[in-house]
Amino acid sequence: MPNPIRTLLFCALLLIAASARAQLKIDIIGGGANQIPIAIAALKGENTLPQRITDIISADLIRSGLFKSVDAGGLPSVPSEPQEVQYPVWTARGADALMIGSVTALSGGQWDVRFRLLDVPKQQQLVAYNYQVSTEQLRTTAHQIADAIYEKLTGDPGVFSTRITYVVKRGARYELQVADADGFGAQPVLVSNEPIISPSWSPDGASIAYVSFQTKKPVVYIQSLTTTQRTVVANFKGSNSSPAWSPDGRRLAVVLTKDGSSQIYLVNADGSNLVRLTNSRAIDTEPNFSPDGQWIIFTSDRGGSPQIYRMPVNGGNAERLTFDGSYNVSPRYAPDGKSFVFIQRNGNRFNVALEDISTKQVQLLTDDGIDESPSFAPNGRIVLYASEVRGRGILAAVSSDGRVRQRFTVDIGDVREPAWGPIWKGH
């Protein structure tokens, strides 16, 4: 039985080593119950690369909390082909899975990257791929390999090659940034001297809708990540906020105050065809589409306190979904549509909670801080949210079973308003 503290410490050290260059640093708290022991052998030839691919793969897998790393060093020769694998060695080390492979330089600055995932007890190959990529694409390739391993061994799609967005506030300056899911490669997509809130990824990952206050009032924009072209989606009298994309990417739900209190409207992504969806004298805000596009969940204080409701996307009666406590806000559907995350106030704390829609059963995923703005990773296994440490905004993530937590911190400034992007379909 391995010492759990030592294992975790080892993981932590691995992470620190792997993330020393990240703009967002990641720190893991807790661990999964049944971690899969995996040995990741160095890829033959990878020591000549600017960064070892296997370091990135290991960091990805360990960060998920579902894997534990089995030592793959100290061998006279590192296997890179199945016939070179001495299975008894890996069985003795306790590995259930073994990754091997190679990197070879091609002409024109390209690389040939090969990997194989082997089932140690069965002595079988589980999956194998090869990639021909440029030096700049090696990091993405490592994430894709980690995704393939994660999917093969857990049955869920991996999200290591997805991206996240969030807002960084440094003094009076606000930056909407996009980074890889491991915090690397952060790039500003909008810089402003006025607040930016509520970023929301389009379903194809090509655009982000957000609220900017740069004209001294909240206005909803959509910005393309490839061209930076920006369009105004909603700029009516009063406040315009809380954009949420329909699953087909054609429409958005937005919150407007042009007709009185904050109400939910549907609008085409080009700003045309505005239709009012809610008709209450209360606050109706924070809309979010169900993955099948049939429902909208939202926050409303129509019953006296802010609670979460669900209504058909074409309007109609709203059904109240939360009943415990006097402050339940910020609902977001799980990718399978069966549950949603939200923020529940308990005393002075604001916790991330998960509710099963059919049973109405609620599980607290966090219980100690001031948490905000939860959103699911596209595989439904991780919830990303904003939190606070010593008065400073940070990002954090918790597995949807509540067992594993991560913290993302930046060196300077407050981080808030995170949103996890869709699974990348560009390759």
Partner: protein
């Protein structure tokens, strides 16, 4: 207990790591977003339909006694612009009625003047829900001014929610300072 110790150890390790100099991370060509938009209010901003700020100053009707702008005159109630609220409330307290009446009258008498009422909240809770609560506070004052005769076309109620706190402390005094409407005239 183990978790606690671990957190401390991790925190220490991370702190030790914090001095690591940053290098620019590896770029992935096909996923690098294009250059950021710099959103300076004065620069390349698509013209909004409702403009909260214009460059031309509001010219107050000059009075024979003082040509000074009554909105800026510290002795004039019109220079007072803030209305404060209780926690979780949009009820306008009686003490602010003279101030609100004065602004309503000013707008009625100066048809070229336009005012924005900006609602604010303290930082606790959801940003979007707070935006809606700030809007409710702004609407409460706007409605009162309209009832007092201020033309609706000269008024806009918007919300900053918790996004632009005047006080940045995390205490009741700061929170109270931030539960506030501000009346801002076009051109200010």
């Amino acid at each position: 207990m183990n978790k606690l110790i671990l957190s401390v150890i991790l925190a220490g390790l991370l702190a030790a790591c914090a001095s690591t100099p940053e290098q620019s991370p590896a770029k992935v060509e096909d996923r690098t977003p294009a250059a950021p938009i710099t959103a300076e209010p004065a620069k390349s901003e698509p013209a909004p339909k409702v403009t909260a700020i214009e460059r031309k100053p509001v010219v107050a009707t000059p009075t024979p006694a003082a040509a000074a702008n009554p909105l800026k005159d510290p002795g004039n109630i019109l220079s007072k612009r803030s209305i404060f609220f209780e926690y979780d409330s949009d009820a306008v307290k009686d003490e602010y009625k003279p101030l609100i009446t004065a602004h309503a009258t000013y707008l009625k008498q100066n048809s070229s003047a336009k005012a924005t009422i900006q609602g604010n909240t303290d930082e606790r809770g959801s940003r979007e829900y707070n935006l809606a609560l700030g809007q409710r506070r702004a609407d409460a004052v706007k409605q009162m001014m309209t009832l007092l005769g201020a033309p609706e076309a000269q008024l806009e109620a918007v919300s900053f929610g918790e996004e632009k706190p005047r006080a940045t402390g995390k205490d009741d005094t700061s929170y109270a300072e931030n539960r506030r409407d501000d009346i801002v005239y076009q051109g200010e």
